[in-house]
Amino acid sequence: MNVIEVKGLKKSYGDVHAVQSLDLTIAQGEIFALLGPNGAGKTTTVEILEGFRKRDSGEVSVLGFDPQTSGHQAREWRNRIGIVLQSAADAGDLSVIETVQHFSGYYSNPRDVDEVITSVGLQEKAGALIRNLSGGQRRRLDVALGIIGSPELLFLDEPTTGFDPEARRAFWALIENLRGTGTTILLTTHYLDEAEALADRVAVINNGRIVEISTPEDLGGRATAKALVSWRDGDETKTQTTDNPTSLVSKLSTQFSGEIPELTVTRPSLEDIYLTMIGGTHE
């Protein structure tokens, strides 16, 4: 069953075509990452799926429901999804547990409050006021509020922006845990390592269109791309691109009779592929 189905989605702001004929299908239980530079149409697309914006044309179905519908049906639909936005810095005078407890009351089948707080690693901060939390702890609270209603579908918008590497790893572990519960997750990010670590599939979006949808391993023909072998021969650094790096290395090994000086074998990183796709270059 598909949780999200989008066909021919279009959205313009005046003369700016933010989204131009976008198609997307996300299956149940998938962790799907939407990658793209700022202004590519990521946020517009996600906000249309979240029911925050109206589309100009195209078909959109999220959990079998058109996000544009309002009224009581919309409440029933929101009861089944969770949204973690880019930033929310309100309610500083409430404690973590008070806030999670309060939000749990919005849903028909909320998860256990203590269990959710523990799952995001805030059990020691449960009684702390929100204003006294660090940026990373606040983000964990955002996620707690996103999952308290036991959503079938969770939207995560650039969840680790501004995190230090350690906090980011801890956050990834948290998302991995959610995978175990069967929650479908739509993640937007501009960290490629994050997409690679978490996502089952990624879509690269640029200029309001999907450039490619694939697994992180296969994106842009990365898995089958030629390898670059480089080594030092005397004073000279030599490089060669090849489909068969192993045989080249073994040939060099014989030639140097042992250790090959400064040997490296590289394949294009997800970042290299991504930058090629969006027409950018390394800085």
Binding site: S87, A89, D93, L94
Partner: protein, 264 residues
Amino acid sequence: MNKVPSALNLGVRRGALEIKQFARQRESVVFTLLFPVILLAIFGSVFKDTIAPGVTFSQYFVAGMIASGLVNTGFQSLAITIPMERDVGGLKRLRGTPMPASSYFIGKAILIAVSMVIQIALLFAFGLIFFGVHMPTDSTKWLTFTWLVLLGSGCSTALGIAFSIVPKSGRGASAVVSPIVIILQFFSGVFFVFTQLPTWMQQIAAIFPLKWLTQGMRSVFLPDTFATQEVAKSWENGRTFIILMIWLVIGVLFSIRKFKWDRD
């Protein structure tokens, strides 16, 4: 699958949460609740005269203070704090939950009603003890007082929520809202005797609810003989009721149709 909680149930929960948050902001609690008392102390000490036989300025002023307390606590505070909540993303987050807009509005109305009750109690206590303000003894006056507070509080809440769409940012909200409220207070006879204001001012004030609330409150706190000194030579409580109801409906409709959850 259980049903989603009712809008009223969530509204009451929102109200409890709003009160809890408000109570924790100590400076603003003290200032908001005691502001009318402070003003009464200042004006009551400056103007010692009586404006009619048996009517001290303090007595006249209590009516104005309760009416403008309703405007400050409801309209002004909501039209300033809601844009701030919007700025920090709090409203957008709520929008993404199954909580309906009506619950959010009910929560605000509860917060405003509760702070009004406390504010009025403080003003009464202070006025009685220090400024010899007389309380009405007639039960029909208390009935008038009750519907005025309820309707005024509802009207002020609805218009505050509706007006919250005007300020573009939380930071600028106070600069937009405060002057409007202060001018309205001067025009509506809160700080001065209404009939002594220029006619054009009286006419402008008559469009807005504060003038009517203040006049209604005078009907509660001043002797009925004073009614002859009003512009219309009577308290006009029926008209006050109708005008407040009209503004309430305008505020509610506007809030439902136009409320902004997001900055852009």
